[in-house]
Amino acid sequence: MRSSRMWAAAAAAAMLGVAGCGGADSEEGGSGGSAAKEGEAPKTVPGFDGNKIRVGALSPLSGPVAVIGKPLTNGNQVFFDALNKQGGIAGKYKVKLVQEDTQYKPDVAVQRYNRLKNDVVAFTQILGTPSVLAVLPQLKRDKIVGAPASLDAFWVREPNLLPVGGPYQGQAINGLDYYVKNGGEGKRICSLSQDDAYGEAGKEGVDFAAEKLEFKLASAQKFKQADKDVTGQIQALAKAKCDAVFLTSLPSDSGTIWGTAAKLGFAPRWIAQSPAWIDELGASPLKEYLAKTVWIVAEGTEWGDDSVAGMKQMVADVEQFDPKQDPDYYFSFGYVQGKAMAAVLEKAVELGDLSHEGVLKASEELGEVAFDGLFGDYTYGAADERKPPTQSTIFKVDTAKPYALGTLEKDYESDAVKEFEYKAR
């Protein structure tokens, strides 16, 4: 019942000692803020008390996927810490990150979303494709913006989502294009992907590349996530005499896959999606095998590359705000997400409306956002006009580097990737 919630909001506001804010006003703000004018200070609304903006993060902070959720959330946090140090959004509104642990379960994510939704202006991180899809209908209903922490292609066309980075499909297309144009012409190309939505995204990119680059997949194998036996799949790839295999997996499985391949004496050119890598692999007994065989397709540059402004800034921020944080791809992802959310919030403040709907509107009016070389620049706007970045950086395994990855080709952009169309789900 909305009116009781209004009383609760009013009571909370009174307890916080927020002056000049009647209960009725805060309720109005929640449902549109019709009185918002450009240039004026935004009204207090759920998640914004007049000087602090609260944004939510729905992330697996415990459980098996916490190895991804924790650094990603740290990335969000460090970005906002650095931003607050400089004054915050529009130089005066500090941003507070509110974390909720989803344990990577869709039903828990929905419950935690409900816990936070009237307490934040937007969600700067929702991790896990199933969790995002479970929360999405409610985001639409409540007209809230959420930033998914994955590179699925169907995010691009969803008005309520604020993706960053080029989708998995683009990585696959660029990676295979680079391979074919650099000595892979006429070679036998295969794919190995995990049996879920992430794996299918990679596979879609591989199929598109096969069509555009006119090669036939010699074998397409799938494996079940966390299945510790992939001997059969590797065997099948070896049987198909694959020269190159495009791999869509998560780090926990990448180790098993490459370990099994090495064990069976199978050494093709592995081209893997960005989430497949974690620097511990570079320290495992496999490191020589990996250095010889593995490429990773990702975005941006090496960790600690001073020549790239965004990377320089991020490394400086890590040193200042979270020196314990190791080099980590997922951390960068979270940091970039923070940047995108900050851009939306700046716009919303400029438009004078930080309500849920106001933030949604701001995200639609947002133009190109530059990530200073950390990730490719993203053109936002109305969902059907968005343009995700199309260039990928090809890395090779190099154990001397901070994240055990060295650049092979920076910002590679194939012709094929430009033709790939992002469709709504």
Binding site: D195, P251, G255, P285
Partner: protein, 298 residues
Amino acid sequence: MSEFLQLCFNGTALGARYALVALGFVIIYRATGVINFAQGGLLALGAYLAYALNDTAALPFALAVIGAVIASGLIGAATERVVLRRMVGQPVFAVVMVTIGMLFILEQTITSIWGFEALNLGDPWGVQIVRAGDVVLAQRDLWTVGIAGAVLAAFFAFFRFSKLGVAMRATAFDQEAALAQGISARRVFAVSWGISGALACLAGVTLAAGPAALSPGIGAVALIAFPAMIVGGLDSPVGAVLGGLIIGITQALTTGYQEDLFGWAGANFAAVMPYVVMVLILLVRPYGLFGTREVRRI
């Protein structure tokens, strides 16, 4: 042909692991009539104990494994003494669920101590291979088959010739008659759980060998050893070993030939193949290949 042989070898290595787990199930089932769903947890715990003895206590690998096997055996026996003994006489459903509850507790104990990240067990086999013609034999798989073979032989000898083994068989055959002959059923129960824990640990070590292969998820293999046990018959040790091999080889062949022969069944069909085999065999033989037909009295 060499491809077929290669797949068969892979399947045998896989099947040997299933056999070790399935035999653990059968031993407990014969003695106590319980299916132990916590076997997967014991298996993972065993592998982590070997890791801890090797990595943290700096024992040589072989010693670490032996130590872990003994420790797992004791843990198995202790589980029986502390929890399962209280469940004697309870319905099947309750006992099955107690072991499932224990599985959760074991899993979380493991992740709380060692975390979720994949670890290197520290085995000497690594990624070394032996070539026999066109067939590639991984050292770790050769050792797995060897260890499993030796352990199974030792087990059957123990069952047949040792006093305790005979007592276990007698108890399985007729508990009351065995009691009347002065056989301690309690001791048989505890020993059964102990042996089963030790087998689980060995299966865990062979599964976790290799680079970054030790993770809390390895216990999931027990879910595939279930069909192996059912295919062989719940109460037949020979059946468990055969069932393990049948399931292992079927799975390997399915992955190898699926694209050519039955791509329509959906990718990764090999993951459900064990269950399909199980259902097919149960349709024909409701008590598995070697299981004893239950006689029911009113």
